[in-house]
């Protein structure tokens, strides 16, 4: 969806890559509404698509649609999406994806990636920056499994930190659109007058009210680190302007190309390979050079590499 650039940017990347491969790529916007995802996945299956790629849409809420798609011969490939055997899918879930993007060495899946890299990565930066004496307001969005993984794993790391205090504030996806976040964060900042860190599981939350609440508190003389995750263009801007203190940047467009490669391999009966795109820490000391973060070395010629591998030009 457009409000979640973390889903729409890789989709664009995939579309570009698909063009290079001569595929017909159709992008469907799920509008953050599971019933829409369902309808669209089934529409794709009815249209006899060869493959279906999920960006930011987990298996669990659309299990029925995925099974239906697979039954009618459409392969389901997951990019940044959690499979039905995820730990936050209660019940006897089975892994359903036909193929998955590999997020690190040893076939790291997306859940492991978020649990070991994203959440802890965020936490580690906080701990390092505050020298283990962080007083954190952790915003948690637990109504979506992806953000819950990040929140939970970051929380664990904070607990291990020793000198850290954590206040949890939970919000829901609905709060975002109804503008309730700013009030909640302001309230939390009041409740924890000593807090010097605010973390969010996705950057979208920052521009939807968290930044303002934090800026207001800063205007009152407090020093607060605002820590995000994603590194979409908007947060690159915010990091540059100093509003956001840290973003765990991820190469979204590259993710799209890597997905295309994975799908290509899936058709060829191979497993996806680790694209090797870790993530970029952006903060005051490591300001991103470009306006869009897309891998640690922006000159990394991944497009050319993929085209070479695919044998197209």
């Amino acid at each position: 969806s457009t409000v979640a650039p973390g889903c729409s940017m890789p989709a664009k990347g995939l579309a570009d890559a698909g063009k290079a491969l001569g595929w017909k790529v159709t992008i469907a916007d799920g509008k953050l509404d599971p019933s829409v995802y369902n309808a669209q996945i089934r529409a794709a299956a009815a249209a006899k698509a060869d493959a279906l790629v999920l960006f930011g849409i987990d298996c669990a809420p659309v299990k029925g649609a995925i099974e239906a798609a697979q039954k009618s011969g459409t392969k389901v490939f997951a990019a940044n999406a959690l499979d039905c055997d995820d730990k936050y899918a209660a019940g006897r879930g089975k892994a359903l994806f036909d193929g998955e993007l590999v997020w690190g060495p040893d076939n790291t899946d997306y859940a492991t990636f978020t649990d070991t890299c994203v959440g802890p990565g965020q936490a580690d930066w906080v701990i390092a920056k505050t020298e283990g004496k962080a007083n954190i307001i952790q915003l948690r969005q637990d109504d979506s499994a992806g953000t819950r993984h990040i929140g939970e794993s970051a929380h664990k790391r904070f607990e291990d930190c020793g000198g850290c205090t954590v206040t949890t504030v939970s919000y829901t996806g609905a709060d975002l659109a109804a503008g309730k976040l700013q009030g909640k964060v302001s309230a939390a900042l009041q409740k924890a007058p000593k807090a010097n860190v605010v973390t969010v599981p996705v950057d979208a939350a920052i521009s939807l009210g968290v930044a303002s609440a934090v800026q207001q508190a800063r205007a009152g003389g407090r020093e607060i680190l605002l820590v995000g995750q994603e590194g979409v263009p908007a947060s690159v801007k915010l990091v540059k302007s100093g509003v956001q203190s840290f973003a765990l940047g991820r190469p979204w467009r590259w993710t799209g190309w890597a997905t295309a490669d994975g799908v290509n391999r899936m058709f060829a009966g191979e497993k996806a390979v680790d694209a090797g795109f870790g993530f970029g820490s952006m903060d005051a000391d490591h300001r991103p050079k470009a306006d869009v973060y897309d891998g640690n070395d922006p000159s990394a010629p991944y497009v050319g590499n993929y085209k070479r591998i695919w044998g197209v030009s």
Partner: protein, 347 residues
């Protein structure tokens, strides 16, 4: 008073009234009258034809698989919309339909997966949950004479809390295959949820048009205090309308579970607005100004077909809402102009 236009059959005997010259209905007038009443239906046919012929979608849209798929997908929304329709006929809004869909799908999922009870009990539990919630709405609204808008919107908020308490921030999986099969299998070439849709739509249409209960609801919607004074059981009927609405929403919830294979807090809540929008949209066609089953079906499929067609065409994500909204506004405005021109008089 909304100026409802109704067919005035000029056939009636008007004995010994030489002055009453029945005006001749010109073909032009008749055509514009049809266009006005069936404007939305015609538009629905037009967009269907468009997507069937448009080269971009002509290979994917007009396939049996796709049509089946649209029908099966919308069955949930149709049933949710019919749930909202029942009290609306008696001029009561039900803003909690979506929340009930959600809570019942979670209930069924929990009963089946976590308590391990048989599927039938789970399905029953889901519908019963809906019924009970509807009953609570109904009792408060009918017997305490409270505003339906306030009570059901409050209830919807409350149920959001209940849903997230029950589901506990997880997605509930592990639905028995038989339920999933019901949601996804065909019978006589038609998906089973579609059969359910047909049965429910016919039942609701029958209930509203041809039972004393339905008549009572219509009368209440038309003039509530007059309904009281002719001895219609106003409070009881309103309560029952909400109970029925709740049970139908519960059924929609079970169907949602069957189709998606999972339940979670927040999933299903989004049905309220589309359901009401479909009913309102439907009230601008067939029987102008009245909330009907047929109109509701037209309303649902009008939106569904255009979304499906545009998805298949891979339109940019802004196109689809734009197209949809514009189509609704234009269709309704056009039929309103026609109505105005025809009625001429009544300003």
């Amino acid at each position: 008073m909304s100026t409802t236009s109704v067919t005035h059959l000029p056939t009636d005997s008007q004995p010994t009234e030489p002055g009453t010259k029945v005006t001749r209905v010109t073909p032009m007038r008749r055509l514009s009258h049809i266009a006005e009443r069936f404007g939305l239906v015609l538009l629905l046919i037009a967009i269907t034809a468009f997507f069937a012929l448009w080269p971009v979608t002509s290979s994917t849209f007009p396939t049996t698989a796709n049509m089946r798929n649209i029908l099966a997908n919308e069955s949930i929304l149709v049933i949710a919309a019919l749930a909202a329709l029942v009290p609306l006929v008696a001029e009561r809004f039900d803003l909690s339909v979506g929340a009930i869909v959600m809570v019942s799908s979670i209930t069924t999922a929990k009963v089946v997966t976590q308590l391990g009870l048989p599927l039938a009990i789970g399905v029953l539990a889901g519908m019963l949950t809906g019924l009970v919630i509807g009953l609570v709405n109904g009792v408060i609204i009918a017997y305490f004479n409270a505003s339906s808008l306030v009570i059901t919107s409050g209830m919807s908020t409350l149920l959001a809390g209940v849903g997230s308490y029950l589901a506990g921030d997880t997605t509930l999986l592990g639905i028995p295959d038989s339920l999933a099969a019901f949601g996804n299998q065909y019978w006589l070439g038609v998906a089973r949820p579609v059969w359910l849709l047909i049965v429910v739509a016919l039942a609701v249409a029958y209930m509203l048009g041809l039972t004393a209960f339905g008549r009572t609801l219509l009368s209440i919607g038309s003039n509530e205090s007059a309904a009281r004074l002719v001895g219609l059981p106003v409070a009881r009927s309103v309560m029952m309308a909400f109970a029925l609405s709740g049970a139908l929403a519960g059924l929609a919830g079970v169907l949602l579970l069957a189709r998606t294979g999972s339940a979670a807090a927040g999933v299903g809540a989004g049905y309220t607005l589309p359901a009401l929008a479909a009913i309102f949209l439907g009230s601008t066609t067939i029987k102008l100004g009245r909330f009907t089953v047929a109109g509701t079906l037209v309303g649902v499929f009008f939106v569904a077909i255009s979304i499906n067609g545009l998805t298949l065409a891979g339109a940019d994500d802004w196109v689809e809402p734009f197209f949809n909204g514009a189509a609704v506004v234009i269709a309704v405005a056009a039929s309103a102009i026609l109505a105005k021109r025809r009625l001429g008089g009544t300003r």
